[in-house]
């Protein structure tokens, strides 16, 4: 076997260029779904699916293999990791900042549990920062987002649903 011409860190950096198809400002590493990279006879990338029915899952897997091929890695495979399950808490600090800039209110850390228990959370408007916001719909344009409106600047915005 030829010594690997690439390191784990390098591969992780390449994966940091793979965008989430539904929220393209986020890379899959920002999203926190890349769990591991194993280098052996083949390169195995362990990915955690976000939502069970998320149509982006297969697109992401395809993009990962594509990105590795562009860097000369022909033998690669994807391993799906279910445990521990992905939650919005896996989104990185950088990812949260990118979401805010993009106009999507990022999920609050640890909010998943509280939201599920029915607590009402203050969601800050990603445009003006006001916390006087209201939920318009628990469901949005994709499975991972809810629709909100800011009562200060009156702009509608999306909130990354906490699960």
């Amino acid at each position: 076997m030829v010594a690997a011409a690439y390191s784990r860190e390098e591969i992780l950096r390449w994966l940091g260029q793979v965008a989430d198809p539904e929220i393209p400002v986020l890379s899959i590493t920002d999203l926190g779904i890349v769990r591991d990279v194993e280098i052996g006879e083949t390169v195995t990338v362990a990915l955690a699916p976000t939502y069970s029915g998320c149509p982006a899952t297969e697109v992401i897997e395809h993009s990962v293999l594509e990105a590795l091929r562009e860097h000369g890695i022909e033998h690669a495979e994807i391993r799906r990791v279910l445990s521990p399950p992905w939650t919005t808490d896996w989104i990185s600090e950088e990812g949260r900042e990118k979401l805010r800039e993009y106009g999507i209110a990022p999920p609050q850390e640890g909010a998943g549990k509280r939201a599920l228990l029915g607590a009402n959370l203050d969601v800050a408007c990603p445009r003006c920062g006001a916390t006087a916001t209201e939920r318009v719909s628990e469901f949005g344009s994709t499975a991972c987002k809810a629709a909100y409106r800011c009562r200060e600047c009156l702009e509608p915005f999306e909130y990354f649903k906490c699960i």
Partner: protein, 252 residues
């Protein structure tokens, strides 16, 4: 039945429940009374189809005969499906859809919570993923049941009729057969007796909140878990499987 066989049957049944309910919800896509609920229904349906895929893929691996998720979904006949009768009943009005979801999801959430602690790692992992989704559904659906029950005279009357109509299908959820018993004893799965206790106290509290009357437990319709279905499942499956049956292996 050995413990491996019971686990396979159990996982397949979980997949059947998720797929059949998901398909019923898919039938309603673009037919909901308002946009928010339209999105909720489509999102929830997607969760169920996604969960069915995870259960079926695992069932295919457990079986070890090269069958994949599509074979389970599209190439089995009606009597091979082992879903609960409640889930295959035809769609009614919006309140009826909400009622069915609350009745089932209260049970399903408790089942998933118990499965997270079972000794089969993969099943526990799938349950952990699905549990978060069902919890989110239930919060939404319970609020609706209360709003409709404690709403106008008309909404109250209609949703009470749905509760009365669907109640007869709730007994089946707690009817333990060999598969349930073996999965409980050999894999640390849920005790249906305990799930029933919890379900009864949860549903009682919700019905009280919704000012709805809890129906008497009369004769319960059962058989779905053993492959004996109502006449409705065949039609549903015929439509769902049509493409794969007519064009085997079609993909796009």
């Amino acid at each position: 039945m050995n413990k491996e066989g019971a686990l396979l049957a159990y996982v397949t049944r979980l997949g059947d429940n998720a797929l059949v309910l998901g398909q019923r919800m898919v039938e309603q896509v673009a037919a909901y009374p308002e946009l928010e609920e339209e999105l909720a229904n489509a999102n929830f349906a997607l969760d169920y189809i996604g969960q069915a895929r995870m259960f079926y893929s695992y069932a295919g691996e457990l079986e070890g005969q090269g069958r994949g998720e599509d074979d389970f979904a599209f190439l089995r006949d009606e009597n091979e499906f082992r879903n609960l009768l409640l889930l295959e009943q035809p769609n009614g009005h919006f309140g009826e859809a909400i009622t069915r979801l609350v009745l089932f999801e209260l049970f399903y959430l408790a089942q998933l919570e118990a499965l997270i602690r079972c000794s089969d790692e993969r099943l526990a992992a799938i349950a952990a993923r699905a549990e978060k989704e069902i919890r989110y559904h239930l919060r939404h659906n319970t609020q609706w049941l209360v709003r409709l029950g404690d709403g106008t005279d008309d909404s109250h009357r209609r949703v009470q009729a749905s509760v009365n109509e669907l109640w007869r299908y709730t007994g089946e959820m707690f009817e333990a057969d060999d598969i349930d018993t073996i999965v409980e004893k050999a894999w640390g799965g849920p005790s249906l007796e305990r799930l029933e206790e919890r379900w009864r106290s949860d549903i009682n509290a919700i019905l009280i909140n919704a000012t709805l009357v809890r129906p008497e437990d009369g004769g319960m319709a059962t058989g779905g878990k053993a492959g004996r279905h109502s006449e409705h499942l065949g039609y549903m499956i015929a439509e769902m499987q049509y493409l794969q049956r007519v064009h085997p292996g079609a993909s796009w």
